[in-house]
């Protein structure tokens, strides 16, 4: 793949990388820092990418690794997970029309890191369970259970399930399966 093609392909994945990065760090500035670092790394190791394979997955893996290595560094420097969390949770009350989205965002941010990323990868980024497992370097079953726990927890935080008026309906559950394994 020529440098030109590679750059064009990188460009095409940037919007998705930013969305994933936002779900990890919460502020646009930090997310873009993370994407920037990802692009530099991807460029440096572009010879290890096989053209025709899943570039999006490859880039997501780099971004995720970068994120966790930064987290580890930061933990050593300043131990302030609360502060980071508070920042991520900050909402924008002026956006009245988007209030329910803000509530939803807050609920997503309350999820444990591993559950949140699994949910985003499968439920929003369009990766299959298998691809998400590759990106997170874990077993497919682990991803499945993280996604499942994330959904349940979100439902609890948002109090989606009323007083048991909705009974579990296995058939409808199968039909309405929200996971979109086809990328």
């Amino acid at each position: 793949m020529s440098n030109y093609d590679f750059r064009a392909e990188l460009l095409s994945v940037i919007p998705n990388l930013r969305a994933f990065a936002m779900s990890l760090v919460g502020t646009a500035d930090k997310a873009d820092d993370l994407v920037q670092e990802t692009l530099v790394r991807a460029w440096d190791k572009r010879s290890s990418f096989t053209p025709g394979t899943n570039l999006k997955g490859w880039l997501f893996t780099i971004l995720r690794n970068e994120f966790y290595s930064q987290m580890r560094k930061r933990k050593r420097e300043v131990s302030d997970p609360e502060g980071a969390m508070a920042e991520r949770l900050s909402s924008h009350p002026e956006q009245v029309g988007k209030l329910d989205m803000e509530d939803f965002k807050k609920a997503v941010n309350q999820l444990p890191e591993d559950q949140r990323e699994a949910l985003i990868l499968v439920g929003a980024s369009g990766f299959s369970y298998e691809e998400a497992a590759d990106i997170c370097d874990c077993a497919v079953g682990t991803i499945k259970s993280r996604v499942s726990r994330a959904r349940t927890q979100l439902s609890n935080i948002l109090k989606l399930e009323g007083d048991g008026e909705y009974g579990p309906d296995a058939v409808a559950v199968g039909v309405m399966n929200l996971a979109s394994p086809a990328a």
Partner: protein
């Protein structure tokens, strides 16, 4: 598959068993069995007891949250960076 096989066996023995245990007991037994199967189905798809409405809501909101960011224009600083990445190759810098 396994479920079908078991149901067949169940159906096969049903008549014989009914004469032995009576209809009520059997109906209860088989509905217990069905309930257990349902649980297994839920666990394997990973949505224990969540209503389709809740799932649909979560799915939609999640995509909305994500797609809002995807729809944003790529920030200039990232575009500039992409341009620079190519430059390095053409003319190796000596600074």
């Amino acid at each position: 598959m396994e479920l079908f096989c078991r149901s067949n066996v169940l159906a096969h023995n049903y008549k014989d068993a009914m004469t032995l245990y009576g209809e009520n007991t059997l109906t209860q037994l088989s509905s217990n069995r069905m309930a257990k199967k349902d649980d297994e189905v839920e666990n394997s798809t990973g949505k224990p007891g969540m209503s389709p409405d809740s799932q649909a809501f979560i799915g939609l909101k999640l995509r909305e949250l994500y797609d809002d960011v995807v729809a944003e224009p790529v920030p200039d600083r990232l575009l500039e960076l992409l341009g620079k990445l190519g430059e390095d190759e053409k003319k190796p810098k000596s600074e």
